[in-house]
Symmetry: C2
Subunit: 582 residues, 2 copies
């Protein structure tokens, strides 16, 4: 037996017992006559104390050979501490050892195994198994485990069945790039790894499964942005005989349950916002509504004066930053720099201070009278002490830029507390979006999304105005998940593929199995998928998902710990009937 | 709202309520004045009854257009049936409809959607979404879901953390063939899909996770035998600071819990059998111990007479089939044919009947006296009415053949009841086995398995006699899972790779990350993996795992429903920097 207790378990009630604990040497202090070892495992830290003069010589010698991260086993008596510590849960006791066994020595780790480590990102990725020993990293993965368990039990209680869909499927060019897998048994042919189990979960609905979920790995061969992983995890769900309302209710119930069960946070019923309103008031289809600061359109208020920039703009629009009138010149310059960054792309920033004394001071005073500025104040419903920030230009670009400015101001004003959670739905997304790149319509969600029945007649005349039964769940400005009511009729699905530029043959070759399935009695159905990595990072109050994945890949898609991907043997290539291109 | 209740929900207490139910038309009977529709969903079947003379004309017309598997929604009043049915749970009521809406018509399905279908395997695989509608198939997957939930909650209650390990890893030639995935971002390099998360779970132990599990997809590019799938699912577990005993106790607890929670079957504490005994008494490392029928070695009893076959044999060994003395000549001939099949490979079968009247009659009476045969009876501890069956030949081959005969006799004598479960451990496996093909030692379990400490000194002198701390869990003669205590010391791991024919460079290139990890404080650890598909089929009382997988592949690794694998576009190949070989 390698331990009778863990390093986080012993309390004052254990005093007098002889125990064995095992773990890693967190640290050691040697004061000559007294020697302390902090022994650590997943569950906590226990102090071992040796009075060197009273202890066996061999024991003291062994203790003095120990280094950080040595793995040892200690048998001894639990005694009450003279000076108790309330920093650790075992702080009331210590162990007087009879025996110390070195189970495995350790080289000095390349970074400190502490909550705050001295190791940079690269070295911690290479030695991920050491980074995993640090409390914050392990706690992230414990949180992930807890969210997964709670998700499964909640959905199980509602009659959802977890069904595993295949990982080796077929490549479909729509959407992002697939990872592919050459088939040795079928030379010249390939499997693809799923970008999502979309078609399979729809087939489960056709198959009468009624309520499906799966916490499932998905794969996208994309050029990785800062916080994307080639493999990622979804909570994937689908329901039959439902309308949008049923799905929204079910999954807001799930998210509220998770917040309560995992974080003990009560989330109110989720509010709903149309896509049109989200764009109008926040310039963003995933607005962070932890704070208000809605867009105010000013075309009617500011145009027709001498200021050419506003007169020429498609849209003049602003936000009112509560209590920011006293921003310094330097702060306002920073904001101007911020909006002019290429990623944001505004040409400039107009501001107007509504000072505490009731005066108004703007950066365009030479074009606008005090009377004009009072109209601005009225439009913004500003109060003395507020700062009005205004952008102008082409409509879509300006909304997008102002959205970024709004978020920046929210951050600066401390309105984006990571421990506050604002969850809501964005609904009524457009079915299609026009791509200038490919000069055709693309599905905004995916090709299986159903148009709203009342908009179907527009599908030929005005495809861009057709709204979909599609919805996103947004938490703190992050799109945590999305879904839709699906098409379940072969003709409509086929029409949809036409619109998306598929030939009949392509549609049949790629999705014929699904359209055929629709002919054998497909029920109305819909669902959604939540980004599990993202959800975990949000629950953990973090921005990056990588910290919530046990063995993440870097931005080039490499696992630097195992050094993968890597070349394979010529014999493997030969068996697969493929060759490398020079 | 598409339904207020499911098709399995309505009872006599609902009589008088107006309800809406939706589902598939299971069948329809039209008697002119009365018309019945059986409406089915996942939860059950509800009868709709229409008195055609009293019902609205339009309603009757709609009803008469319905065909099998049409998807409809029915609103109407729940009424008590005149003649109740106890075959279905809703048999006390029926629905008098006010409205029938056809949600989706259906083509006539290519096979009947009944518990016993008229569809063959191939057609059911092609239309898997229709096969999934059948109760037996859905029930298998419901069972799978239930086992998964119970497994997770049990392990969670013991402090195990579910950690997702990566799917895109590195190819390692040891073991079965890997599926590989070309990396677009790293041309000429490949990921591999994991055959198991073995090294990652060991790294989690090095990382202090202490108790890990995962229900996880694994992949093997093998030539598929009848019941293998290229992707399969494991319950994968690992524990730190444990010895073999801890692991056996933990996971027999889990399996006993699953039997109790899912099947309400009490399983006694698992017995343990050494590999040596399993081979000696059953000729098999996964004996089915639902029945005894142990091997009896007869070299000392039968040799030295005139019967050359026995005299020349390395081993003469038999079983005693209780109560089978009255087997007819035809039955005995069948058994002889059975053992002579090429897969079994025996040259013949000797039998001796110990008749109810006390006489003994053997197929080799001309070589053995009655006195001799009495010695046989004594050796077998046979009773009047028993049949002794004896094989002879080279030792290993003969044991293997007799094992098959034993199982066959078990089946013939009705000793292998699918509703009885005999679970046990086989322990003390050899560390290595010699391969005649490659002329070197192979790891019997895998290269990370630890030798028994007391046998380590044999590792150079007699590698074949080194026993491992390895164990298999066997249920009803099926190896449900296996595992081992792992090596956690770099030198021993390195020595193991030497033995297995790795050069130092190969070992470092493929498993360097693991051996390096062992130098930074690796704890003693071990674990096991259970075949989840197999466990589900065993719980379901079935022989084939395919019926417990939602979308299985056929024996050529094809998904015939989606027609995968399939060729991919030249542009995809180009992006991946690979070419097909002509």
């Amino acid at each position: 037996m390698l331990r009778s207790h863990t390093c986080g378990e012993l309390r004052i009630t254990h005093v007098g017992q002889t125990v064995t604990i095992s773990g890693w040497v967190q640290g050691m202090r040697d004061k000559g006559s007294l020697l302390w070892i902090d022994l650590r495992d997943r569950y906590g830290i226990t102090q071992i104390t040796i009075e060197t003069e009273n202890a066996a010589k061999e024991l003291v010698e062994t203790a003095r050979t120990l280094g950080r991260e040595f793995v040892i086993s200690v048998t001894g008596k639990v005694v009450e501490r003279y000076s108790k510590s309330d920093k650790i849960e075992t702080g009331a006791i210590e162990i007087t050892p009879d025996k110390i066994t070195v189970l495995n020595p350790a080289l000095v780790p390349p970074f400190t195994i502490e909550d705050e480590t001295d190791g940079g990102d690269d070295i911690r990725m290479k030695y991920r198994y050491l980074d995993l020993r640090r409390n914050p990293v392990r706690k992230n993965l414990e949180l992930r485990h807890r969210i997964a368990i709670e998700t499964r039990n909640y959905l199980d209680s509602l009659g959802f069945l977890e069904v595993e869909t295949p990982v080796l499927i077929k490549s479909t060019p729509e959407g992002a790039r697939d990872f592919v897998v050459p088939s040795r048994m079928n030379p010249g042919e390939f499997y693809a790894l799923p970008q999502s189990p979309q078609t399979f979960k729809q087939l489960l609905m056709v198959g009468g499964f009624d309520r499906y979920y799966q916490i499932v790995k998905c794969f996208r061969d994309e050029d990785l942005r800062a916080d994307r992983q080639p493999e990622f995890t979804q909570i994937d769900c689908e329901m039959a005989f439902v309308e949008q309302e049923d799905i929204l209710n079910t999954f807001e119930g799930m998210v509220r349950h998770l917040f309560k069960a995992v974080k003990n946070v009560e989330i109110p019923t989720l509010s709903r916002m149309t896509y049109a309103d989200a764009m109008k008031f926040y310039g963003n289809d995933k607005p962070d509504i932890r704070f208000e600061m809605k867009f105010v359109e000013l075309n009617n208020v500011v145009k027709g004066k001498e200021f050419k920039v506003f007169n020429d703009a498609g849209l003049v629009v602003g936000i009112c930053a509560k209590g920011a009138a006293e921003y310094t010149r330097k702060q306002l310059d920073e904001l101007t720099e911020f909006v002019k960054r290429p990623q944001i792309g505004a040409t400039g920033l107009v501001y107007a201070r509504y000072n505490a004394d009731g005066t108004i001071k703007s950066s365009v005073d030479k074009f606008y009278t005090e009377e004009d500025l009072k109209n601005w104040v009225a439009a913004f419903d500003a109060q003395p002490g507020d700062l009005m920030l205004i952008l102008a230009g082409e409509e879509n670009k300006t909304r997008k830029a102002l959205s970024e400015l709004r978020l920046e101001m929210g951050t600066r004003l401390g309105l984006r507390d990571k421990n506050k959670f604002a969850c809501h739905w964005v609904i009524d997304f457009p079915l299609l979006e026009w791509s200038e790149d490919t000069n055709r319509w693309h599905a905004m969600h995916h090709p299986f999304t159903s148009p709203k029945p009342e908009d179907i007649e527009l599908i030929d005349s005005a495809p861009g105005s057709v709204r979909a039964n599609a919805y996103d769940m947004v938490i703190n400005g992050v799109e945590i998940g999305g879904g839709s009511i699906r098409i379940f009729n072969k003709q409509l699905q086929s029409r949809m593929f036409d619109l998306l530029g598929f030939t009949k043959e392509e549609a049949q070759a790629q999705f014929g199995f699904l359209m055929n399935a629709f002919e054998f009695g497909a029920p109305p159905h819909g669902g959604l998928a939540l980004g599990f990595d993202r959800l975990c990072s949000l629950f953990g109050g973090a921005d990056v998902i990588r910290d919530f994945i046990a063995f993440p890949k870097n931005n080039s898609g490499r696992d630097v710990m195992i050094d993968s991907p890597a070349p394979i043997a010529q014999a493997q290539l030969d068996e697969l009937a493929i060759a490398l291109k020079k």
